[in-house]
Symmetry: D2
Subunit: 358 residues, 4 copies
């Protein structure tokens, strides 16, 4: 299933070492002026080779928009786009052709399809997320016109954690360091942990926090289309993600209801607000107008730059050592992916909500 | 959006105090003998009034199957079913007509729809999950023929926690106590915590652990239909759920890749297995044949049996005290709901996987 | 696949001789006052036993709404409804249990599902359309608020045809006779043809013309969601339908482009119109504001009240004579079904069109 | 809505004068060796400039596959493809920027989107069908492995008609002339009619007949996914199509049931067949194993090479004369489009049918 969304729909294609990665955006409202340079900037944030703590591949990842715009404005028709693959080191993967990398998708793809594209992970490569970032970058430009902003930042690497309260951080500082953490001190600690892990040929996981501001009350559909279920599905679909929580999440389960309810109040302008926001901006699956915030758990990725024991596709024991360039920690590059998936989810919900009343 | 699933699809209807709760199952394979008593048993597990720690409402919740079976065997056509509502205490809700209960869906439904059915929470009532349990109970009977079993149990209430390793527990003991916790000692502790909370007119949250055994390798779709994303979306759609994680989940983020990878091995019968299962039975979004396990966070529910400050729908300050019968802790009754959503998700993935190769 | 529509979605269930026929309407806008008596009137128009030229079964077909309304007004949540089956003559079908009726779905259901519900045609029974008529009757009440009206009438029975130009007929006369033909003279001819055919134990086909007025310009989606493709799919899904055309349809293929183009003009109020309407109100798959009109071909139904040669499900030659009560001509009762499917299609397109611009 | 299909899904993009036309195929089974030259041959059949009776544009329309194949074999992941646009004569369309061509999509797109891409019809251009032909060409290669073949041919141009009985024609002769009509004599007549019409700067419509052989019994879904409704929707979505009928279609409505039923028989090999095939290979919406045949009505296209009266987008009277190269009759080039849509529909139904039984 390569389509995401119900009204604003992104359909993607592309393997790591195929000709291109790309997609089709369907359901884009018409009449929106798109800044393609801004879309490219989002892709650049996801791109490897930005710093010494991420992989050194120098992929230029230039987006080419193939349809759906006239004079830079959306026409309402589908937007096709592609990013050509041009920095193949397919040879790096020859030793993986008949060997299953542990905790990768090699075995499961083979079990499902009877075969797999072993070059660079094929479709299971993180390179696939290029199309998501592009789809999200278009969505963000629509959201901005609606007064909605989407932020994500690295809030934990290994055991180095930020405070859970996102209000303590300045979102404009997210890109001020290559960890994409708005706390400069913690960012430096995270960075040196990643360097250490990298030196060991190992990898490390972490948490990305997402925050969405300016969401009007009313988005989300009861029962099977709850806004947080859509967000959760979007996040869990990102490579290496193992968990999702919103509002107080897992931390809230030990509390009592009386500590956790968010009392309503009316502000000076007569708008309904909640005094606290333990709910995370969503109640009964529908946005209540408060900030939406959530946390996404990323495992340490499985490609180690040291020898690992495994088996071949005929079941023989094998030893594998990844060659090539790999991230010791995906969090910094995953930040724009989290933002992209959140942006598409919210825009989709916003558009669908247009059908609620005459 | 009241439809769940892509091939095995459940569409539901019903408000707490309307005429009935029910649904339509589409995509049920033909030729399956259905044990309706077993479906009813699942509904009975969800039903209020089973013990002193859950609400005392005595809803009989008898399912009536309206179509799709002939002589007790599925015909492949859609299965309509309904459970009549017959124990209304609508008067209990009169004081909520113009008042928003904090952290409930009252305000968000009104913001979205311009109105709401205030009686018993209307469509946002947990009573809506009757249709899910029924849909899941049908799915389980198909899964059992495929050798797949779905279990869920209360693994945490407040700060009383079971060990994370589900292997330590005997799934056959889940229903041996009214907390639905397979550890009798911990169950007793949980029970007394719930009693204490209840006495305070308060509520408490917790965690339900799910385990699915016998899933063949190959289920799940790359990119936007990953098996754990579908599971996560299914779980997050359950009332009061605030988080989902699978495999090592949030706990794994602090580890190194070298500790977390699951090495492949071949067992005596020549089958591929992993030596450990940190992945939780899913790699690259596709099942690998190991057990799938996951955790679902439930907040303490928001209906307190004591006075809470809130506002009316005209913005005036108001004080609300819930009347009627409410759960101090939803976990015990949510166990069959988690099982039902998991069963439908797995069956849906199993059926969709039939289309992968000729 | 028992779900119709993308935003306004009807999911149905029910066999001819099961407990009930019913459905779930999802995506109904909130705040619409529904006249249930009017819904029942549409069902009564579809009901058998209305006159001597349709089957004599006296089914009361009372709709029971199970959810989604409060004080008669839609709440935006799903509307469940059911019509109980209470006039079973299942014994009439015993001779069909192991015999395939020619040109019925008996053989194809068995080939697909490995079995079938033989009683009254099971799910392939025209009785299934009860749920469609109900779904359409709700949709019509929304459309009427939007100034959109849907009409259908019997325009051909056997070789007795009305003029193709629907402007010649008064839509208010459709129900003035039991053929549902707005031309009294032709209706009388059709009626006597149907009587003749009935006396022979035979059946006869015909054409129903549909007309939709008041549709604003802009409904329909380019490429795979063209408004006429949606309408066509809706009509072709009705039992016994073998063809669909709109605008000039098949008759237009022999003409030249210069005869067939509809020139634009501006009316006194400054509104764009076309001087002619050969296009049938849709251009490029999108409504242009003119009347939409179309024709639907119904075959003579296959249940004859005389002996027919066939085979048993073991391949033995067999002779079958239908017992019970059957329509010699389904057109009169199909009129409300055509209207219902058209209404749901247009409302669905109207709602989806809300997502086109911000 | 730019996605077609439920399991085998094609999502398309591209305007006539944008950078490219292309699409993404999702749900392609894995392990199928694809002959790309054969895909290209189908595109060549659709391409303009093949003969004097179709437009003289020399578009090379070379397909580039961007993903989803490894060593020429499908991997089960999505197949992205694109055809670059390289023969723009955008200047030919300058006079249409502010003028609505009669019976084109110019006005309706503007009404829907508030704007349109006027160059070459933008998304409403027949050039969009390139992506359909490619999607269908992939599907055909799967169908061929299943023993299913799809044919289409020009059976009527203006008033020159072939016999309705497709058995009288040799499908291998379809491409023996540039009209794509298997009857050489009729083809010559059609050709000279088209030449005459072209000389007048006019256009002419016609009918394409489709035939699908080798379809096993059991494809299609009851109620809203009937096989002929899916086929009809697929055909009605092709540019310029105004009608669809299958089996006896509109011609059958005047007959009696006793003439129209298809009696079952068992052939020498013990297989069930019908003695006649008035049903067109589908009963109750499900294939019965006989040939499927249908007819598709194409209007004379609206672009005339002579002056037509119309209005500007500000409502002023205008005179328009199309420049550039346009088809006097689209039937010959539409033949591969009909085949493509039929192939995708049947493959989609075949795959979905895999989920019917365990």
């Amino acid at each position: 299933m390569n389509t995401f969304g119900r009204i604003y729909r992104l359909t993607t294609f592309g393997e790591s070492h195929g000709a291109a990665i790309g997609g089709v955006i369907d359901g884009m409202p018409s009449g929106i002026a798109i800044d393609i340079d801004e879309v490219q900037r989002q892709l650049d944030r996801r791109r490897p080779g930005q710093s010494s703590i991420v992989t050194a591949r120098n992929e230029k990842d230039r987006i080419k928009v193939l349809s759906g715009l006239m004079d830079g404005v959306t026409t309402g028709t589908s937007i096709g786009f592609a990013v050509m693959n041009d920095d193949h080191h397919s040879g790096d993967y020859d030793n993986m052709r008949h060997t299953f990398r542990p905790s990768h998708a090699d075995y499961t793809y083979t079990a499902k399809y009877g075969m797999r594209d072993h070059r660079g992970g094929g479709r299971s490569s993180a390179r696939e997320t290029i199309a998501r970032v592009a789809g999200g970058a278009f969505a963000m430009q629509v959201l901005r016109k609606l007064g909605i902003n989407v932020y994500a930042y690295t809030s934990q690497v290994g055991d180095i954690e930020l405070d859970r309260d996102y209000h303590k951080y300045d979102m404009s500082l997210i890109d001020s360091n290559d960890v994409r953490c708005p706390d400069a001190g913690k960012a430096a600690e995270m960075r040196s942990l990643i360097e250490r892990v990298k030196k060991d040929g190992d990898t490390i996981g972490g948490v990305i926090t997402g925050v969405i501001t300016g969401v009007p009350a009313g988005l989300g559909q009861p029962v099977f289309g709850k806004l947080h279920a859509m967000l959760g599905s979007a996040m869990l679909g990102i490579n290496a993600v193992k968990g999702f929580e919103y509002g107080m999440g897992f931390d809230g389960v030990g509390r009592r209801g009386s500590e956790m309810i968010d009392n309503f109040m009316v502000d000076a302008d007569g708008n309904v607000h909640t005094a606290t926001n333990h709910s995370g901006g969503i109640q009964g699956g529908i946005s209540n107008g408060e900030d939406i915030y959530f946390r996404v758990a990323f495992k340490p990725v499985a490609t180690l730059l040291k020898e690992v024991d495994t088996i071949s596709d005929t079941g023989e024991p094998a030893v594998l050592k990844a060659r090539g360039r790999h991230d010791p920690c995906v969090l910094p590059r995953a930040v724009p992916i989290v933002e992209a998936m959140a942006a598409m989810t919210i825009l989709d919900a916003w558009l669908l909500n247009r059908t609620t009343r005459l």
